[in-house]
Amino acid sequence: MAELFIYGIVLGSIISLGAVGLTLVYGIVRFANFAHGDLMSAGAYIALFMVTHVLAWAGIPDATFGPLSFGWRMAVAFPVSMAAVAGLAIAVDRILYRKLRLKRSGIVILAMASLGASFIIRMLILILWGPDFIFYRPGLLRPALVLPLGVKIRPDQILILVVAFLLVGLLHLFLKNTRMGKAMRATADNMELARVSGIDTERIIIWTWGIGGALAAAGGILYGIDVQLHAAMGWNFLIPIFAATILGTIGNMYGALFGGLIIGVAQQMSTAFLLPTYKPAVAFIIMIIILLTRPKGLFGGGTRQ
């Protein structure tokens, strides 16, 4: 059980990266972005393209870092892919969502448009890479360390936790201490008042998509390192990240982080009693229970509007 709990935290940290981005976007742009999971896939596959093609061609050695399953290629591909997906998310907003916003389309129209965007991204991945499971490093033995309580954990998984929490920590510092971060929180609170204060909210929206996209990419790559890549991986993450977002109160970044960890742990622990194929159902059931009992999530209500 202790082992499943640790695996749940690892999975949960990946879900959190998706959920934090989703909740930021919701808080500011105010619609449910169904393409968020596929931004995670896009991140994973862009990193794959970097590792297997661009960086291989550029002559970066293929050696791994000590006990980890990857090396310099991934270390370079990771931030590059984050930046690329940030750009992709911003581009989709400029091309698609912004036009609908200016026409004052309802949230249902925007959500459906994002569903369309998600299909386009997923189908492009299918066309380019096919429907098979892919590893960043095929055929590599991945030995596990044994921790107290007999918990087996791979060095990769420890790094995944460190990277995920580091990114969320950086986001926290950004939102708390920088001028742009504070303006993002202000815009999420009240967009009209932000505009009245002289804040260019279109610029804030661009930042929000960029950060959301970059975090999604990071989540997708980390999942690829932990498990494997598949064209539908991000789509399958959609229910867990929505469940985490709703559990942690939509728009609340810290809630999304916490919700992601809960969903991850619940999904992994369930495999002790249920077939692993039921994992997505666990997230779905938690989401339904929360919607029925506490629709505003664990951190909703009180004085917050």
Binding site: D189, N190, G198, R304
Partner: protein, 234 residues
């Protein structure tokens, strides 16, 4: 010197216009109060000036420059600040962060300005790291005015500053408005509390049904029988 002039402004949220051919003038450093019954379009007039409502016809000029239909964040850069009637603070931000957001477009050091705001509203200083969602109505109104003053505006638009406040707070908010005006800031105040609003006003405008009904000095309107009967309760 006239700093703000709205001429023939017709505006509305939907196809239905709320303002019809409205005119208002504000001189540098003066208080202009806009009174009138509910639904007369007083708040809409402020929003039309600040670019929050589409102006269908007519013009708004500020210091000789046509600002009709410009985006609010652009108008804020020209020296006009606006305090909405409701939702006028960022509830999940602290008092200090609210003031910083007021200064968002300032690139210089504005720490002295924050100290000035705390001098004007000393109660805010002790609560500077409290979230605004937890404040009382009067304190929120002070944060809202403080936020709007961060840009050192020449003209401040206040929408119903006394709405929803306990009676003993109303007079203190009006005192603060006089203090702000004494520093040279011109104000346009939309108020339900017509008597208090006219008492401190250099000029007053009466709007009814989205049209200009009367305008005169504050004193003259206070002494006007019709105004007294309709809006001053006696």
């Amino acid at each position: 010197m006239i700093i703000l002039e709205a001429n023939g402004v017709t505006a509305g949220y939907t196809e239905v216009n709320i303002l019809h051919d409205v005119r208002i003038r504000v001189r540098a450093g003066e208080i202009v109060s806009v009174i009138g019954p509910n639904g007369a379009g007083k708040s809409t007039l402020l929003k039309a000036i600040f670019g929050l409502v589409a102006v269908r016809s007519g013009t708004v000029t500020f210091k000789g420059e046509d600002i009709t239909g410009q985006r609010p964040d652009k108008i804020a850069r020209k020296g006009i600040s606006y305090v909405p009637q409701v939702d006028n603070v960022f509830p999940s931000l602290t008092i200090e962060e609210n003031l910083e957001m007021g200064a968002f477009i300032r690139t210089d050091d504005f720490s002295q300005r924050i100290r000035d705001i705390y001098d004007l509203f000393p109660v805010l200083k002790d609560k500077r790291s409290q979230k605004c969602g937890q404040l009382s109505g009067g304190q929120r109104q002070m944060v809202a005015m403080g936020r709007a003053l961060m840009l050192d505006p020449e003209l401040l638009l206040l929408d119903e500053p006394s709405a929803g406040l306990a009676p003993f707070l109303v007079s203190s908010i009006f005192d603060k408005i006089r203090e702000i005006n004494a520093t040279g800031v011109a104000l346009v105040i939309v108020e339900q509390n017509a008597r208090e609003a006219l008492k401190m006003a250099h000029h007053g405008y009466v709007l009814t049904m989205g049209r200009n009904a009367m305008d005169d000095t504050g004193k003259a309107l206070l002494a006007n029988r019709e105004v007294a009967r309709l809006y001053l309760g006696g």
